[in-house]
Assembly symmetry: C2
Homo-oligomer: 137 residues x 2
Amino acid sequence: MQLSKSSQYAIRILAFMANHQEMQPMNANKLSEELLIPYKFLTKIMNELVKADLIVSIRGREGGYSFAKPPSEIIIDEILAIFHDSIKDEQCVLGIGFCNGMCKCALHDQWMEPKILMQKMFRESTLEKIAGQGCKI
Amino acid sequence: MQLSKSSQYAIRILAFMANHQEMQPMNANKLSEELLIPYKFLTKIMNELVKADLIVSIRGREGGYSFAKPPSEIIIDEILAIFHDSIKDEQCVLGIGFCNGMCKCALHDQWMEPKILMQKMFRESTLEKIAGQGCKI
DNA sequence: CTTAATTACCACCTTTAGGTAGAATTAATT
DNA sequence: AATTAATTCTACCTAAAGGTGGTAATTAAG
């Protein structure tokens, strides 16, 4: 029961970048060293963030990555969605097809509250909001 | 962000068995057909439940599976633990090593409440409690 | 004793997540 | 124009999850 490594890394990378907007564009080497994320894996993730239009990349010398839009407009759920980690409304904790009022799973009622809280957390947290928190790793 | 198939199946299987205690021992064929879980995968899961002492198996004709202890004494978290799906106290949502007061991740504070709720849900739900709920698939 | 019904075990297959390698492309600097 | 520092692309590798096949072991029933 946890996020994929890709999602975890992506959030940490973007939060770090949001904390150092003056250093943009920021290159993959720097990010890899600061966050202790394998270089090649990191570039793969960054590339997906570029394709998803969260990040723009500048190739060549003095290049690197910068935000495609301000961190205040990027929500965590948007990042999770890229790596298929977002919690959908209809998602059943026991994986049955249609888990709703008609035919619900054995954990449906208990699952409601934590599920809604997680969705709320992922949907209401912007990068800007969370960037200030924590010890920036 | 979801439970493994093994955990999902195991909970559904055990809840079903708790709902039909008069039919014990219950064999793999019956469980597979009722719950639409691939036979071979199901027997693999049952075997793990046997090794974990949640279930006892009886081989041979008229054999099958029965509870090793009453469903009122089996909590969901115990099942999740078998498949490495339990949510540990120190588990960080962004996967950093030590996420606590000293050095916490950017989502630490927001993660607290849903995490505690999920742990509560998994730790306080017994099989007996959840068995009655839902439409028994 | 034989047969049929059952679980246990071992080995494998397929798909996905996580991660790596190397060459191609781009662009600033010299 | 050459060099160098950077991203991008394609392809691959490894480990784990999910799933299957075949057979041995066990046991009740006939």
